[in-house]
Amino acid sequence: MSQIAYLAPTSADEAAAALIKGGATARVLSGGTDLLVQLRAGRLAPGLIVDVKRVPGAIGIRQEDGGFVIGASTPGMTIGEHAALEKAWPGVVEAVMLIGSTQIQGRASIAGNLCNASPAADSAPALIAARATCVIVGPSGRREAPVEAIGIAPGRTSLAKGEFVLEIRLPPRAARSADAYLRSIPRTEMDIAVVGAGVNLTLDADGVIADARVALGAVGPTVALAPDAGAAIIGTRLDEAALARLDDAARSACQPISDKRGTVDFRTKIAGVLARRAAAIAYGRARGRA
């Protein structure tokens, strides 16, 4: 039986030091909804668990410089209850709120969702589409990186030894902009996304899409931006032709695998469908703000 130690440091430096000291078998505990499952299944046998939730800034939501700073260990339920955040970034909030059941929402965090580095992470497409960044702290201090830079392969992140994600930053919201996230699962709840699509867009004063970002989940080794999909709808009012181009571009961006949750063919087709539908929702929301 492996000896597991548990630490709950109260500063970022302390946490980073503990992670360095713990070496290869040290693991960050944020919401724990993935870590404990892996522990239980015997897929992980950490020597040290570093609970970062008591590090200042890890939990809580604040508005700063016109944008939002979300403690990366803030449980989904807290994020869902933040009215101002929900108003500004409905797509990000709905994506976070799709991570697991109500019970999971009581614990699951964006840090965990991103650092588990699953290509199916629900929060990632919405955050990437939103141009969100991560504040990463570690032995050499703080750095900031775009969300899409975190996951580099299934189960692998770009974080260096001793680093962990402390905060998520969402940029200031432009006028006439909105976002949306949709995923496809076999049931209505409790499943891992078979495909996920996040769309974030900004309209000009005439209701024409001036900027659009589309990110797709579960159709490649990592959640990734689909630049062509975004470009397909820029300069349009999301008419049928634009939607068809978006569908095409989203499908072209897919490099999925077939597994127990879905086939290559299905994932590819659904990516197009969800990109269209999410774009329509985001467009409707943005128009509603015009």
Binding site: M1, P186, E189, M190, I192, D265, V273
Partner: protein, 759 residues
């Protein structure tokens, strides 16, 4: 027996048919009820199982020395610690089991036959030490080719699971072993002539995936083996006597030396009608000298306990233009898992049970495969064959341009018709269920785009069998009802209600108890929809015996002939006008005088209940299909069923709703997924996908009551029937919504999207 009612009492009932709070309710809603894993003993060890990572392999060697040497490890067992049983069919109350297979399923000997098959077990002072001990056991395997697909397993060149297995039921005895354990056939009339008469024929080949019962409580038990050979087992199962019998046989013990106490059971649906842990826990306790607790993980439940069969169903129907079916041919190929014994027999017998067909053949194949040995699952075998037959019936109705209910009515079995499986139907309520759905507003409600409506029917025999019940009257006139049947879905309530009805007591004065194997007589397990019928019959008869005794006592007190005493509303009433001034003698008054009138008041009845009335159900399902994502939403569901008489209507409705929900899961998402090595890929609730609350609408039950003359209150079994129609009801609704027949379950979104793209 003159003291027993000879026809069902259906009038003037005070308790039966009402909806009282269940007697065990408070414990269940406060967390106090003790389920399998909740029971503990001082000095208890933790038992865990080492399982095969291979679907099929010879066990070359098992080295347990390092595990035994680990501090805190108190016992390590393998098949060598169990007697090597001969192949023997044994009646354990419900259905025959082969004891050797049963023992080998609990612990592999020489060969592992599926991923997850137990090869060794340990008992240690803590969970983490037990885990460490498992890791220290070295098993060397010689991996063999495996086969899981049922038709692949039937092929001549398939890897053979059992060298001694020769197909039973063939005209000529086979000369080489096969994975086809048995071929059975039911037939009537002249099939060829029947199809020759047909003006319309439909044909289909359907498949279903292996699905699990999915009870939320994993298997759990505590076993204590004393040095004198006396054992105690506390376990969550569908039958404490079943556990006792199987443990005795597998370990070579006397049944009387094993006392099995049933804990509360967190769902079974047939999956807890056999043993997995109990014999191992006893063997570990024998070796260690301490009580041993074993609790499965969810992964173990999926990998190593009974799902039901994945299957292939072939159906051909022939009919006249007016809808009269002239011929039916059904071929059923069912996975049995690692050992023979799929429910293909029941699947064959139920396949055409709703229809009066002059010419038919039903051929069934029981096929062993490198997957967990199947266990009973709610109406075992019936939903699978019904999926094929009811899908074909839907196609036939469409082909004929006939309303699907009208087609079923046209060919319906009714009283006096000989069932496809043999006996002649009496007092059945099938037509009444068809009328109930035909007349329901649901059937006429308008549908929107991408929506469709499906109809399907289902049948289950329902069984009786052996039960014992005792009723004891306390000195204050309250009563205790003791039975030997675990209460899975609220049966304590119906037992107490039937006793209260006969005794004339309010339900609150009757306390039902589920007793251990040493405290009540033999009772077959809770399954087959038999408890309310058979055990209810024993309870009723015991209460009736008490009423006879109470009348005798009252007659003695009043000094009148016993014929002058009646039992009305819980009291003896003197019919002799001259003595009417003496007033009534209540049960409490009689109980208070019991010492002077013959001693304590109580009665026990052991019986083999015959005459379980067959059950029929007819369902309507509405779906909406998202043509782009392939997602199916169940919009509305209505299920009519003949239950004979609903003792506690709320729990009858619950059985119907629960069975429908399981059937919907089977239809839409549930399945065993194996990788190329034969390992289960989705051994968890996350990817196995049982329906969650947001997946389902309200499920409207329609209780149809055509009394069963053989039950004191007219009850028929309820629990099995509701899972039979939903597979086809959903598939037929999807057919109506998308215009294409889907034949392979589950109807998961990728399959539906692919079919829509191809249409």
């Amino acid at each position: 027996m003159s003291e027993v009612m000879d026809r069902p009492q259906t009038l003037n009932l005070k308790v039966v048919g009402t909806r009282p709070i269940r007697p065990d309710g408070a414990d269940k809603v406060t967390g106090k009820a003790t389920f399998g894993a909740d029971f503990s003993m001082p000095g208890m060890l933790v038992g865990k199982i080492k399982r095969s990572p291979h679907a099929h392999a010879r066990i070359v060697s098992i080295d347990t020395k390092k595990a035994l040497a680990l501090a805190g490890v108190k016992a390590v067992i393998t098949a060598a610690d169990f007697p090597d049983l001969a192949s023997e069919e044994y009646e354990a109350g419900e259905s025959a089991a082969n004891l050797r297979d049963l023992a080998l399923n609990c612990m592999a000997r020489g060969k592992v036959l599926y991923d997850g098959h137990a090869v060794a077990a340990v008992a240690a002072t803590s969970s983490s030490i037990a885990d460490a001990a498992l890791a220290l056991i070295t098993v060397t395997y010689d991996v063999l080719p495996h086969v899981i697909d049922v038709e692949a397993a039937m092929e001549a060149g398939a890897p053979v699971l059992h060298a001694h297995l020769f197909t039973e039921g063939l005209e000529t005895k086979p000369d080489r072993p096969s994975n086809i354990a048995k071929r059975n056939e039911l037939m009537r009339g002249d099939l060829e002539a029947g199809f020759a008469q047909a003006e319309v024929t439909v044909e289909g080949r359907y498949t279903t995936a292996a699905v699990h019962q999915g009870y939320i409580e994993p298997h759990a038990c505590v076993a204590a083996f004393a040095p004198d050979g006396q054992c105690q087992v506390w376990s969550s199962s569908q039958g404490q006597f079943m556990v006792r019998t199987y443990c005795a046989k597998i370990l070579g013990l006397e049944a009387s030396n094993i006392r099995v106490t049933p804990t509360e059971i967190g769902g079974g649906f047939g999956g807890k009608t056999t043993v997995y842990l109990e014999p191992l826990a006893l063997a570990l306790s024998r070796q260690s000298g301490a009580p041993v607790k074993m609790v499965m993980t969810r992964e173990e439940v999926f990998r190593a306990t009974g799902p039901t069969s994945g299957a292939v169903i072939e159906v051909k129907l022939g009919a006249k233009r007016d809808g009269a079916i002239t011929a039916a041919r059904v071929v059923l190929k069912y996975q049995a898992g690692a050992f023979p014994g799929s429910p293909v027999g029941a699947g064959s017998m139920t396949a055409l049970a709703c229809y009066d067909v002059p010419n038919f053949s039903v051929t069934g194949f029981d096929v062993v495969t490198n997957s967990p040995k199947v266990a009973a699952y709610r109406a075992p075998g019936a939903p699978i064959s019904a999926f094929g037959v009811e899908s074909a019936m839907d196609d036939l109705a469409r082909e004929l341009g006939m309303d699907p209910i009208a087609l079923r009515r046209k060919n319906a079995v009714r009283d006096g018709v000989k069932a496809a499986y043999g006996p002649t139907f009496r007092n059945i309520g099938y037509l009444e269920t068809l009328e109930a759905i035909a007349d329901h507003p649901h059937y006429k409600a308008p549908l929107g785009p991408n929506q469709g409506r499906g109809v399907a029917v289902g049948f289950w025999f329902n069984v009786g069998g052996e039960s014992t019940a005792a009723v004891q009257v306390g000195e204050d006139g309250s009563a205790v009802v003791v039975t030997g049947n675990p209460d899975i879905g609220g049966s304590r309530a119906s037992m107490a209600m039937m006793a209260a009805e006969v005794l004339g007591l309010p339900i609150e004065k009757v306390r039902p108890i589920v007793a251990d194997t040493a405290s009540i007589g033999f009772s077959m397990l809770t399954g087959g929809s038999r408890t309310t019928f058979a055990t209810g019959m024993a309870v009723t008869q015991a209460a009736q015996k008490i009423v006879v005794d109470l009348k005798r006592r009252a007659a003695q007190i009043w000094d009148v002939p016993v014929e002058q005493v009646d039992w009305i509303n819980g009291a003896a009433v003197c019919l002799d006008a001259a003595k009417a001034d003496k007033g009534d003698l209540t049960l409490a008054a009689l109980a208070a005088q019991s010492a002077r009138t013959g001693g304590p008041i109580g009665a026990q009845v052991s019986l083999t209940a015959q005459g379980a009335g067959p059950g029929f159900g007819a369902h309507i399902c509405d779906v909406e299909v998202d043509p782009e994502t392939g997602h199916v939403t169940i919009l509305r569901y209505t299920a009519a069923q003949d239950v004979g008489r609903a003792i506690h209507p709320a729990y009858v409705e619950g059985q119907i709703q629960g069975g429908v929900a399981q059937g919907i899961g089977w239809a839409l998402n549930e399945e065993y997924v194996f990788d190329s090595e034969g390992r289960m890929e989705n051994a968890g609730f996350l990817d196995y996908r049982v329906p969650v609350a947001s997946d389902l609408p309200m499920i409207e039950p329609i209780i149809v009551e055509v009394a069963n003359p053989r039950h004191p209150f007219g009850a028929k079994g309820v629990g099995e029937v509701p899972i039979v129609p939903p597979l086809a009801a959903v598939a037929n609704a999807v057919r109506a919504a998308i215009g294409v027949r889907m034949t392979d379950l589950p109807l998961s979104p990728p399959k539906i999207r692919a079919v829509i793209d191809a249409r």
